[in-house]
């Protein structure tokens, strides 16, 4: 403890501590039972008082905006739309004393060593079973005991590289482990993100309180994996295997991969050949030396583990067995997550480590043991009963909350299959202050602490992820049940040295350029991001022309061009020859057009395009800049339909803002993105889509000679953002041929079709080529064909119509161009982006 902290005077009368009253019977992190402040909080609270409640409130508002813009989200489980919910963070950190934390650190390091030793034994000689220290049922009946993973050498016998302990503090002030997470520890990324937000919000206080930094933990993880992977080769390739964007933890997967500098991959990005793991990239297959997996044990390999897994890598187990890849954590490590194991840990710890267990587990009885079962059945109402092995289908129940009949039912189930149940003491959790309504309120705390393998032992992250809830029940079981989280400050007993991941110690980095090692799937997603962004912008521009006409004074006189614009909105689904829908009054037109704004189910509606854009944006979140991401978040935020009736004027203002935002996105992409293959595929997507959209609009509006031709031309110039150029060139004299020149054949107009084609020519030329390919690739031929046709076109002739008022030549040119561009898109996909698709199982053999 720092004596200067103790020497501080009493708190001011208007201290934020004010009316803080923790509930009786629990340990409070902030104040002792007589209401005095715990020493580790003194400095923090006096600095906070100095800041004042209203200033804290102001900064907190700002911080929440930052959270939103950074897009810290997690996927709400079971939401088919894949919509994200916002990460909830509390403004106040949980402050813990150095001495207390070092004690916990030594206990959790021991626990990680112990669990690792248990894994090494159970996936090896199984002495624990032979000696009766662990009942055989806890291994052989455990669905997480993966027999294919038994008996092969795990490098350095290190099964656990990263481990998370879920902790609670008892009323006496002792920490208890309530759950172990040994497959893929969820939360360290959120802990860093929380730290960034809170330390930015309270930089002064953070600095003065001497808070230990988190970066060292990640350096240790990187060194641990790097060390093992370097046995394969000097410059190893390490990937982070994620279950993908539909997973609850995708945000953290992307965040961690970026923070650690590992390539973020999904199962389909990897392939096993010659018993080695490879990453599929634009440039071909690249060897992978280590996999930090965020996929559950059983899902990692559909060949040898769960055959129904869609997120695994077929052959991964055998590659690991062959010693060709390090998988962290080792496959099968979920075995030690079983709550039933806790009942046996003290004995096993003595036997395997020759030590006493330092941090106790919550008291646990495994019902498969007869005397434990008798105890459980006669004390049922005091206990929490849950599955012995980790099961995602059954949640633990507090028997006291059951009625008599339910309790009897539970007892009968325990009697029938006792080995499947454990009972645990009800966990009472400590409380800590939460910032709510500009005051401190007590909230119940669950802690996730993270441990990483380091050289021969383990080290604890000097910080953690805390969860907070107004009720003590169910807390901490999942990150994702709608509770808030907290940053955790572990104070230092000396000066804090700055640590950063940006300049890791060790070998100097050789300069490298981003190249063909881009995973094909990422290139595919960027390609689609480009297409979606462009489609959204094009639709917004079209809608803007419609709405500006709907609210103008001359509205009733604009029905002719409005109907044509509406047809353009309907898109390729409505053939240009068809009847023009939506004839009638301005108000019926308004209703029709509204569907193209907010109706998710209307194909081509802005809502549906933005949803698609959101989905793609999320999966390339780690590949685009923070600014690009913020722009996309803003587009989405601005668009949400406001409550009540929406007026066309509001819509128009919203569309104007959205178009500006898309311009900003394009600007960031042009000015800030490295011209690597990623940018190239984004551009390919944008150029193809922009050309296709303009072609569609021209076909819908110009196929027939219209009675309101000049109004239509004016709208077209507006949509293509080319009114000013036209006026400069031709004053106010509106004619089709010069409009066509400007929108179709002018290669200097960035909105013209010819401009897109010229740009595409360049991008297609720079695509990776295999040496044996002919002089011109298929993609080059396709672009060249359209570009030549456009260059050779005579706009005067294109403007002419036949005796029925139909412009056949123009339409043929546009239609031909559109179909070649679609061919181009699919040719690019086939050649570079789609790698043979998903895996299937051979028909299972039916025996006689």
């Amino acid at each position: 403890m720092n004596p200067t902290q103790l020497a501080r005077g009493p708190l001011p009368a208007d201290s934020l501590l004010g009316q803080y009253k923790p509930p009786a019977g629990v340990y409070d992190e902030l104040v002792e039972s007589d209401g005095t402040l715990r020493p580790q909080w003194r400095e923090f609270l006096s600095l906070l008082d100095g800041l004042g409640g209203s200033e804290l409130e102001r900064r907190w508002d700002q911080a929440r905006r930052l959270i939103h813009e950074n897009g810290i989200t997690y996927n709400v489980h079971g939401d088919p739309q894949g919509r994200d919910r916002r990460w909830e963070l509390d403004a106040l950190p949980l402050v813990l004393a150095h001495s207390e934390w070092s004690q916990l650190a030594s206990g959790l390091e021991q626990r990680a060593r112990l669990l690792n030793a248990i894994l090494a034994d159970l996936y090896g000689p199984q002495q624990l079973l032979a000696e009766g220290l662990l009942p055989a049922e806890l291994v052989f009946a455990h669905p997480g005991f993966l027999r294919p993973c038994h008996g092969y050498n795990v490098p350095e016998d290190c099964h656990l590289h990263l481990y998370a302990a879920h902790l609670a503090r008892s009323p006496e002030g002792n920490w208890w482990v309530v759950a172990d997470r040994s497959q893929a520890a969820v939360g360290p990324g959120y802990a860093v993100e929380n730290r960034i937000v809170i330390s930015r919000m309270l930089p002064h206080i953070f600095h003065h309180c001497r808070v230990q930094r988190l970066a060292g933990f990640f350096i240790a993880l990187r060194e641990q994996l790097g060390e093992l992977a370097r046995r394969h080769r000097e410059q190893p390739q390490i990937v982070l295997l994620s279950p993908g964007p539909s997973s609850m933890t995708y945000f953290e997967d992307a965040y961690l991969s970026r923070y650690l500098g590992y390539t973020l991959v999904e199962g389909e990005d990897l392939t096993v050949r010659d018993n080695r793991v490879f990453l599929k990239t634009l440039g071909g297959l690249m060897s992978v030396d280590a996999v930090l997996r965020r996929v559950m044990d059983d899902d990692c390999d559909p060949l040898e583990l769960n055959t129904r897994s869609r997120v695994g890598v077929p052959g991964l187990v055998h590659a690991a067995r062959s010693g060709n890849v390090v998988v962290a954590n080792a496959l099968g490590s979920g075995l030690v997550e079983a709550p039933a194991l806790m009942a046996f840990l003290p004995e096993i710890c003595r036997r395997l480590l020759g030590e006493e267990l330092r941090v106790p587990s919550v008291r646990t009885w495994w019902c498969g043991d007869e005397s434990s079962r008798r105890f459980v059945l006669s004390n049922l109402e005091r206990l929490v009963v849950g599955p012995a092995f980790l099961s995602h289908t059954h949640r633990p129940v507090h028997a006291a909350t059951l009625d008599r009949a339910e309790r009897q039912q539970l007892a009968a189930e325990i009697e029938a299959t006792p080995g499947r149940f454990v009972a645990q003491e009800l966990v009472v959790r400590s409380t800590a202050p939460v910032w709510n309504d500009a005051a401190l309120h007590p909230g119940h705390i669950a802690l996730r602490a993270f441990v990483v393998a380091s050289e021969d032992s383990y080290q604890l992250m000097p910080g953690a992820l805390a969860h907070v809830s107004s009720s003590a029940s169910n807390l901490g079981e999942s990150l994702f049940v709608g509770h808030g989280s907290k940053d955790v400050w572990v104070l230092s007993d000396g000066p804090v040295a700055p640590v950063t991941l940006l300049q890791p110690p060790g070998t100097p980095l050789a300069p490298r350029r981003s190249g063909v090692d881009l995973p094909s799937r990422v290139a595919d997603n960027l390609f689609w991001l480009g297409r979606h962004v462009e489609r959204a912008e094009g639709t917004a521009r079209l809608l803007r022309s419609v709405f500006s006409r709907l609210i103008s004074e001359a509205a009733p006189g604009t029905m002719g061009e409005l109907a044509l614009l509406y047809r353009a909105l309907c898109g390729p689904l409505s053939p240009p020859e068809g009847e023009v829908a939506g004839e009638g009054t301005v108000s019926t037109m308004e209703l029709l057009v509204m569907e193209f704004l907010y109706d998710e189910h209307q194909p081509g509606s802005l809502q549906s395009i933005l949803s698609g854009l959101g989905r793609v944006a999320k999966v390339v979140r780690d590949r685009i800049s923070l600014d690009s991401w913020r722009i996309l978040m803003r587009v989405d935020d601005d668009f949400r339909p406001k409550a009540g009736a929406v007026s066309p004027a509001d819509v128009l203002a919203m569309l104007n803002q959205m178009i500006l935002n898309f311009s900003a996105f394009a600007g960031v992409a042009t000015e800030n993105m490295t011209r690597g293959p990623g940018w190239q595929f984004l551009e390919l997507g944008r150029r193809i889509e922009r050309a296709l959209i303009l072609i569609g609009v021209l076909r819908s509006t110009l196929y027939h000679v219209s009675s309101s031709e000049s109004a239509v031309l004016e709208a077209l110039l507006e949509i293509a953002d080319s009114s000013m150029t036209y006026r400069n060139r031709y004053a106010t004299n509106l004619q089709l041929a010069p409009v066509l020149d400007l929108l179709l054949t002018d290669e200097t107009n960035p909105r013209a079709i010819a401009f897109q084609l010229a740009a595409l020519t360049g991008h297609v030329e720079r695509l990776p080529r295999s040496p044996g390919e002919p002089l011109l690739s298929d993609e080059q031929r396709l672009v060249l064909a359209v570009l030549s046709a456009v260059r050779l076109a005579d706009v005067q002739k294109l403007a002419e119509a036949d005796e029925h008022g139909v412009r056949h030549e123009l339409d043929a040119l546009l239609q031909g161009g559109a179909s070649k561009l679609r061919e181009l898109a699919s040719a690019v996909s086939h050649k570079y982006l789609v790698h043979a698709g998903p895996a299937h199982q051979l028909t299972e053999i039916r025996l006689g």
Binding site: R273, T843, L847, G848
Partner: protein, 291 residues
């Protein structure tokens, strides 16, 4: 008696398969009742490499990957197995079944490699319905072997052989209601019954001789891979039971592999990319070698 066997599996795909990973249980394991004298695995197209090892249960296992585009895959496993005569046991030669259930863990009671076969497994979920069905054959104090034999006969009588009624993923509880299925279902059923009382039992996959000895009927399952169960008692160790044919195999049942259920010893397990539609053909031929 010596037997020669050939087990061929053909896959054909409508589109080329660029990558196919496989893990197969095709080489007969050695045990106290059989020796595999010769074995050959012929794969076309020829894989880059074939790894042989043993699985958790000690069964021989092969891994191979096909990395070149192919539209056909054929796997042929052939070899010779010598079966030994086993001492026969009469139904009353064993102690009461409850004694088996109550054995303590350990080499003098129930060894760990037996104990592992009393629990749930992926295809065999224990239930009170299974226990109820089983108890009829296991009144108190009945000799273990008498109970297991009667259970086998009841399954044979109560369940109809019907290859169309079930598929590989039909759960045991459905089989119990349908009262029909194939050898796999009957093997899983008998496993579930025995385990639901706490009796250890394992799944055996293997072959039957194709043409029966003169004067005996041809057994069901002789033209494909077959499956039956093995149950354990302290007096005799593991004894095989074939509920599909209601026989205790003595001659003509060749063991390939054993495990907790089908999922542990599936003959050919593969994952491939592409391929479009695919179809499969299997042929098994087992004949005695005249001595």
């Amino acid at each position: 008696m010596r037997y020669a066997f050939v087990h061929t599996t053909h896959y054909s795909y409508s589109d080329a398969v660029p990558l196919c990973q496989n893990q197969v249980h095709l080489k007969p394991r050695d045990s106290d009742r059989q020796i595999c004298h010769a074995h050959e695995l012929a794969i076309s197209p020829v894989p880059f490499k074939v790894d042989e090892s043993r699985d958790f249960f000690g069964n021989p296992i092969h891994f191979f990957t096909l990395q070149d585009r192919h539209e056909l895959l054929s796997i042929t496993s052939r070899g010779e197995v010598e079966l030994r005569e086993l001492p026969s046991a009469a139904p009353d030669d064993t102690g009461p079944w409850e004694k088996v259930v109550g054995l303590p863990d350990g080499p003098d009671g129930m060894p760990l490699d037996v104990r592992q076969f009393v629990y749930d497994s992926p295809h065999v979920a224990l239930s009170s319905e299974l226990a109820d069905y089983t108890r009829e054959s296991f009144p108190p104090d009945r000799p273990w072997l008498a109970g297991v034999l009667e259970l086998m006969s009841r399954i044979h009588q109560d369940f109809a052989y019907d290859p169309t009624a079930t598929n590989i993923s039909t759960p045991l509880e459905t089989v119990l209601v349908l009262r029909r299925g194939v050898c796999q279902d009957f093997a899983h059923l008998q496993l579930g019954c025995l385990r639901s009382l706490g009796l250890p039992a394992r799944y055996v996959s293997g072959y039957l001789r194709t043409t029966p000895p003169a004067g005996q009927p041809r057994l069901i399952g002789a033209d494909a891979s077959h499956a039956w169960v093995s149950a354990w008692c302290p007096e005799f160790g593991w004894i095989d039971f074939d509920p599909t044919n209601d026989v205790v195999p003595s001659q003509g049942h060749i063991t390939v592999a054993w495990g907790r259920d089908y999922s542990d010893v599936c003959p050919i397990n593969g994952v491939f990319i592409g391929g479009g539609e695919h179809s499969m053909k299997v042929a098994v031929d087992v004949e005695p070698i005249p001595s």
